[in-house]
Subunit: 446 residues, 2 copies
């Protein structure tokens, strides 16, 4: 038996806004950040659970406070008990009768639960000596459905239907695991397409993306129509007719505006339109999807929980479902969402980028291929070449594919030195930065 | 010109769980709490802006941290500028490009924005020497639509349509103000109906409600069907056939379960079924509404923002819209929601109770009667007889009606002594409580 003896949170922020990496129509100046969590036990095996919520700067302190508020659920507890029944552990956190009021099941508090749950999965996978995708991919259908809270889902997916999906995928698990290790899982890249980049940089990066083996790139759109047309023309010229180009409006439009705007972009051959409007607007997405068909609508990085995804599927509001490793309440809820997508026959193309999102979410797509949907058809994981060096197990992307991690864990562990350097406001980087600013202020004043 | 010189937050908690006041199928043990905010300027007039987010205990610290994170938007700013264009102030807060990631527009961060916005409205009303309902009710239609962010609403309500609604209601404003002051605004009471109460207490309180002039009571349901049937029978026997009885499941059911359960309760004459399932489930509410008609479906206290309300109305998912003073981003967003309800011809019956929710939300219903819908038909404000003594301007409810406050402000100011006594964990009450528990622990140990 081992006891959780430390639950440590850190407010980690990277100064990405200075390079306009990650700039889009709604997020002009993100500082990619992580509200970070480390769970330590007295087991003596040196294994720890790490998890985080990705944010884009201000408010990372609030998210860190929310994770800290969950400490009593973990600290001093029997680790084996917490890890043995992750379905029960999830419910205990998500159904806290008082904390629930702050959502329910959405926003700051729900994402904080996700960080705790993901940290526990990281620890569980390390103890099993397996990467998370493989740990999940070896669980029985019964064990997997026990992870899922079916409350509010049963009008679209029952426990029995979920079991049927998982049983149907069981026979091919070993073969698909071998395929995955040999071929990897397709990725696509958003690196060329940030709004803040010049056309020259876009063109250069689009060429590089094709050379690197990617079959799809993605461009941010939605700030200015003429700019979008010019940038899409440049991108199409750079990549040729075969490479897919998706576009992403980051929630910029109302329904009618989305439909009209996409009418002007359709000629460039659009692989999907991502986040055309509010992530809360199920009926709005459905109206847009009907109007812009056959262009598929993609969304999910800001979809708050499984209940909204359920409705998006019921209403045929999305044709590409984009899970995110840190938006919902962790691995358990993402398993529920993968099962919903499988039930409705919708492809899953995860949102990634940010800090550690690629490292974490790849496990879910790979698990989905091995044990849920059983297919990679039309599916790919977003790739952005940012900040991977800060992770203990950085992604291995080459030839346009993610290659499966073989290191035990869930991928969310950051290097201790990176945490120390970028903790806000007292880490080495931010202290030095504050000093530089003071010097500059003095120089300006002089 | 005056400057905001202090923004003070407090984590205020009342130990309501000890009496089972406020107990329902999802919230068995709430400690009614307020993440509280006080805004002070250097104007020298002694007027302050007060606002809060209502929570039910744990997590009130996280909500308080979220409000504190908004301090830079207020502290050191020119108060006249902030108050002069409340529409611009709202957008500045709600559209912060980094904080937005924590929602967008939902949960902890969105409610925190509501506290700041409501505190500013409280100050603005005090400076105008008017209760908030009257300040709003004297603004021109143009000024009122300028408060509203129409982003994501235009497929259901445009600025021009909103203006039309407000212009149509303009002629009768003075007469309806006089009516309101003379007759009050109808209330209904939830006091008899908490799940934790015995049948005897329920019956006694139901009798008292009728004697007090209420035309509707509400019962919590959803934990156990046989209990619900027995309690409804007792309530109906107590109040007779004329008084309306609404029921509230507090999100307890899935769609099919809600429909089946309500089939068993219909015989008691149900005025509405409130929160039958997840507040995020627009399509689920619509399915339930179709199945249980003519019983109306009511929801809103946990509806996160105007985008979800819009869809609830588009889908005919609710027939009674329940605004809440502290769930969305303050007065501005509630004005948007009142306009949406008016557009769709749906009645608004606010959620109240908690801490200060009655004091705050009455202003919105009264404003709606004076300047938006122009009617009280089928409308009433929830009344719970809890914790009003802690407010500087407690509600005035008699003869089953809320009588309009005439004191300047938005109603959200708590007595300084109450804040001091119930601040957690260092206020007088909680310190004494901790000492008592220590003594009890020692006695048990002995």
């Amino acid at each position: 038996m081992s006891i959780v003896i430390a639950v440590e949170t850190s407010d980690v922020r990277f100064p990405t806004s200075r390079e306009l990496d990650g700039s889009d129509a709604m997020n002009p100046d993100p500082d990619y950040s992580a509200a970070y969590l480390r769970i330590v036990t007295d087991s003596g095996d040196g294994l720890e659970g790490h998890g985080f919520v990705f944010t884009i700067g201000r408010g990372n302190d609030v998210e860190t406070a929310a994770i800290k508020a969950l400490t009593p659920y973990v600290l001093g507890r029997n680790a084996e008990e917490l890890l043995a029944d992750m379905g029960a552990t999830w419910k205990e956190l998500a159904h806290d009768s008082q904390l629930r009021w702050l959502g329910p099941e959405k926003g700051v508090m729900h994402m904080a639960i996700g960080a705790v749950i993901n940290a526990l999965w990281d620890l569980k996978a390390k103890r099993a000596g397996l990467p998370l995708w493989q740990l999940l991919g070896q669980m029985t259908p019964e064990e997997l459905v026990d992870l899922v809270d079916f409350r509010y889902l049963t009008d679209a997916l029952t426990r029995d239907e979920a079991l049927q999906i998982l049983h149907a995928a069981e026979p091919g698990r070993a073969q698909r695991t071998a395929t995955l290790l040999a071929e990897g899982y397709p990725g696509y890249t958003t690196t060329p397409g940030w709004l803040g980049y010049s056309d020259e940089k876009l063109t250069r990066l689009a060429h590089e993306a094709v050379s690197a083996g990617f079959k799809q790139i993605k461009l941010k759109v939605g700030a200015d129509l003429q700019d979008d047309i010019r940038r899409l023309r440049a991108a199409r010229a750079a990549v040729g007719p075969e490479i897919l180009i998706a576009v992403d409006a980051n929630q910029r439009w109302d329904v009618a505006e989305a439909i009209e705007w996409m009418g002007h972009l359709a000629e460039f051959g659009i692989a999907w339109i991502e986040e055309p409007t509010s992530p809360d607007d199920i009926l709005g997405h459905a109206a847009i999807a009907r109007a812009v068909a056959p262009i598929p609508v993609a969304t999910g990085e800001h979809v708050q929980n499984r209940v909204v995804f359920k409705q998006m599927l019921q209403a045929d509001a999305l044709q590409v479902l984009q899970i995110d490793a840190s938006r919902v309440a962790g691995v358990n809820e993402n398993v529920a969402i993968l099962l919903l997508a499988a039930k409705f026959g919708v492809r899953v193309c995860p949102h990634a980028g940010g800090v550690g999102l690629c490292e974490a979410v790849q496990h879910l797509s790979m698990f989905d291929f091995v044990a849920v949907s059983g297919t990679k058809e039309g599916r790919m994981i977003e790739f952005v070449d940012h900040l991977h060096e800060h992770f203990v197990t950085p992604i291995d992307v080459h030839d346009g594919c993610y290659f499966p991690p073989t290191t035990p864990g869930g991928g969310s562990e950051m290097h201790t030195a990176s945490i120390a350097e970028f903790t806000f406001p007292d880490g080495g980087f931010w202290l030095a930065d504050a000093q530089t600013r003071q010097v500059q202020d003095v120089e300006v004043a002089v």
